[in-house]
Symmetry: C2
Subunit: 331 residues, 2 copies
């Protein structure tokens, strides 16, 4: 038992703000490439020496940096994940987890707990074409780049010949793009808001699959989804909605699949006690703060939704840190 | 090395938001007094069941609560420090460390690092009579209640007979009040903004020393401080200013002391490497985000300031988690 534990919680938001600011100033890359004292960093990052000193000393105190004399050095976590030259740089993700929309939602968390859902205007991030999503798509692309090929492999798409894949709420698009990359006969249809599809299209062109990449701009609840899909991807999307809305959505998905087709939900899936693993613990709270009815679900919850929507069978797979539910439409 | 470490930093602000909301809804006290399942907590705290469930599951995931079936139980830290019935409840301090002014300052941390000081309007929290300080005085009163008697004892005020004590930026007033409580012949003059003095006056009356409690409303830089003080307290005040301003302030303090009098600075004092201990690490960053030139200082820095202002001798004392510098005016 310790008062320090409590004071650490009361000031935990300083950590997020500090690392976010250092990322926005690209300070980790600057340190890694030799601008490792206060004057050099200030010059390289366009910041005041006082600001740099205070920020870097703080980052040292929380273990991201070390200090030798006047020189700052990246710790191993910062070197691996926050230097933009790293192949596994995840720095951009801070703007998904701590961007202005999230900060405003959390600032109003108390009324959200009272109301049982977001008190942000117009349904929070579910407002049509909310600018959050294009920012989000760019921010979480490193996760998609990592997880996309793993998901495509799990789904064994390479050996299936001609196939049509609908990527709902495609975001950065990297899940559908991974399907196209592993199966040269796969045609991808990506659905999302117009500004988000711009990001997905860029990624598809960069991956060399642009000629098999088609898009539907708009809401998954109202646009014509097309039909005869062999595969429908729902990556990190169902948690944005309450269970009833999820069932309505899955019924539309069911209707768009060929007999024997598969709908695939990739997301954090809770254990039955509903207590998240630490790394995903923030997610339910984020959904409470920024959506009207979003939630994290157990496999039991998801299985019920898919079956209500008409699916005959579901499977649960591990794809750490997330999980995958594959639901089958009967042949 | 672990990506989880990075994602934990990116989402650390959720912890602060969650514990702050639970405190605002007095949820820890509610759980401790028997409203320990979702429906009972929702009714007691005036919140939606969905909001309560998500919040309490999150608080469980970060270790403040445990869950047995449907029942939430306070962990030892929450029971000691967040239940308002506890004699060492520090819950109110969250509004000093994560209130709206601080959140707004941190939201603009990147431009503050660029500028080398706050970009909040009118000098941030140093704007005349800023409402932050009355909130701050109420919020950090538990720390004053704990530290005040320790400081008064360290200063050995009880055996000194008649004495005049000036408490600069008195805030909650509990340092000066502790001097009055340990020395029945001490007269206290508390200086602060008018709204803050209301808080200090309430505490003085509650402590039964109101008849020896006098006030000066306004700025320490412009008001007549009076004279012939045996003791001047500067508790957690010098860090709000740059070194030059501190020296100017300390020269005024020197002039208000009797020969042989003491000026006393209680604050976090950095080691010479300037890397704060974790519990105080946030402070320099807070000062960067919310003041034009505030900073944390080493003992060497403070010694230099006091000597420049005319003091003949300084001593450093430990008063964990802070430190005390006692500066003497020659007899």
């Amino acid at each position: 038992m310790s008062l320090e534990t409590i004071l650490d919680l009361f000031t935990a938001h300083y950590r997020t703000a500090a690392v976010k600011t250092a990322i926005e100033l690209d300070m980790f890359t600057a340190i890694a490439t030799g601008a490792n004292n206060v004057p050099d960093l200030a010059a390289r990052c366009g910041a005041a020496e006082r600001g740099v000193r205070v920020l870097c000393d703080y980052l040292t105190s929380i273990g991201l940096l070390t200090k030798e004399g006047e020189r700052y050095i990246l710790g191993p976590d910062a070197a691996a994940f926050l230097d933009t030259r790293s192949p596994v740089c995840f720095a951009s993700m801070v703007s998904a987890m701590a961007g202005d929309t999230v900060l405003e939602g959390l600032r109003r968390l108390t009324p959200a707990v009272r109301a049982g859902g977001t008190v942000l205007p117009a349904g929070g991030v579910l407002a049509p074409d909310h600018p959050y999503w294009a920012e989000f798509a760019r921010a979480v692309a490193p996760a998609g780049r990592f997880m996309g090929p793993l998901l495509a492999t799990l789904l064994d798409v390479s050996g299936r010949g001609r196939m049509r894949c609908l990527d709902i709420a495609a975001g950065h698009g990297l899940y559908g793009i991974a399907v196209a990359a592993q199966n040269p006969q796969a045609e991808i249809v990506a659905l999302d808001w117009p500004g988000v599809l711009t990001v997905a299209r860029q990624h598809a062109e960069a991956a060399g699959v642009g000629d098999r990449y088609h898009t539907i701009a708009g809401s998954v609840f109202t646009e014509d989804l097309g039909e005869e899909y062999d595969l429908v991807l729902l990556t990190n999307f169902l948690p944005d909605f309450d269970a009833t809305t999820c069932e309505r959505l899955l019924a539309r998905v069911y209707g768009a699949l060929v007999p024997g087709g598969r709908a695939v939900a990739l997301q954090y899936v809770l254990d039955d006690d509903r207590i998240s693993k630490p790394v995903a613990a923030y997610l339910s709270l984020a959904l409470l703060a920024t959506t009207p009815g979003g939630d994290t679900y157990t496999f039991g919850d998801l299985d019920r939704m898919f079956r209500t929507a008409g699916f005959s069978q579901t499977e649960l797979h591990e794809l750490p840190p997330e999980r995958v539910v594959i639901a089958h439409r009967s042949s």
